[in-house]
Amino acid sequence: MRHTLKYIFSIYFVLSACILSAQETGPKKIAPVKPQTETAPVIPANDYEEVRKTAIKPTDTINVVPKINRYGLRVGVDVYKLTRMLYDKDYKGIEFTGDYRLSKKYYAAAEIGNENKTTDDDRLNFTTKGSYVKVGFDYNAYENWLDMENIISVGLRYGFSSFSQQLNDYKIYNSTPYFGEVPEISSGQKYNGLSASWVEVVAGVKAKVFNNVFVGFSLRLNTLVSNKKPDNFDNLYIPGFNRTYDGSFGVGFNYTISYFIPIYKKKIVPVIVPKKPLPKK
């Protein structure tokens, strides 16, 4: 598990560097190209003078290409959880993601999921089943060129999970192995009605690959807020939170494919702010 985690992290570490640099160089090359015809409001250069004549406020007519910001709902699915089901027989899980653009930079974001995972540790084997929901927001820190819609975001989530644990078998730790190692003991004890809540700091990337389809991934650092533990056992795995450690710390990530459903558009024509009001103050 540890090595798998390490491996995954290093892959994403490398991937993140690639995506970041890809997005950095991309816009510089694309920049001089005019936006595509689908965004009608772009004013051709030839008509520019005319437009200025008809404009009501002469101060608005600075040579700026208007930017179309599309607002809407993006829904997606965590591909990592889906693919993990193919190769890990002890894991079943699905997570749907969604975000709704609130303003230019802010997105309301949520994840909802269900997991069924059997953890086989050296001394314990247990099955965790449960559902979770995470709600919060993302802040897009990436300044898009023209009609690009990529996202490099940081955000916060509040997560809540309701689940059950079943202890399948366990071993007794005996520091004086006089009687030899006692074989593991079957239990089957089920602990129902458990819950936990936590706060996540999310760093994520979403890139538009074509039309309204986005791929993205996010990395999450979690801190438990509440944790209702079973008697004589512990929540070693919490759906949505993942593995727990000695403290309240946790990590998570997802790899999503999502579809953007546009609802309305906002044209951004930057208004030149008159500098007069400032000296008055």
Binding site: L20, I172, S175, V182, A203, V205, D246, V251
Partner: protein
């Protein structure tokens, strides 16, 4: 911003490789042993050292190792109890292996108890805690050879065995 994201990745990467809870820490209280203290029968408040005491479970051939020795010379010893049975019977052989005076003398004590498996941690799993049977905590008998019992009196000091910091059983000889 990019630096921040890289930093978060770097932190997560670091955390992923230092899971402290992988190994059961030696200081963790796990399955306790039964702690026995030896007292002088003629002066019951004074600890008395045993000489070359060997403690062997009835079905085992090796003696219990205490302080890296199977021969106990001292006034206290800790012995494990079975985690998968409610009875453990030990042979207490004083002057082990001696054929001259004082000659080896074997007594047997059977411990009766109840067990409870208590969760410790991911790395340690569970531990067993014992409670000596209140009605019949032990049965003291002479060994196979009908010599005099060297153990004169046994007393339960503490019937719940949850750690090794206290004496659970007192043996007077």
């Amino acid at each position: 911003m990019k630096k921040l994201i890289l930093l978060i990745f770097a932190i997560a990467f670091t955390f992923s490789s230092c899971e402290k809870d992988d190994i059961c820490d030696a200081n963790t209280i796990t399955t306790p042993r039964l702690v026995i203290s030896f007292y002088d029968i003629s002066n019951s408040s004074v600890l008395k050292d045993v000489t070359n005491l060997s403690i062997i479970e009835e079905n085992e051939t090796e003696a219990v190792t205490f302080n890296s020795s199977t021969l106990i010379n001292g006034s206290t010893v800790s012995i494990p109890l079975k985690t998968d049975a409610d009875v453990t019977k030990y042979r207490f052989i004083l002057y082990f292996g001696s054929t001259t005076t004082p000659v080896a003398n074997e007594d047997q004590i059977q411990f009766n108890y109840t067990r409870e498996n208590v969760y410790v941690s991911r790395a340690c799993g569970y531990k067993t805690e014992y409670t000596l049977d209140p009605a019949n905590p032990f049965i003291l008998t002479d060994g196979a050879a009908a010599d005099q019992q060297w153990i004169k009196y046994v007393a339960v000091k503490k019937s719940t065995i949850t750690n090794e910091n206290e004496t659970h059983l007192e043996i007077y000889f």
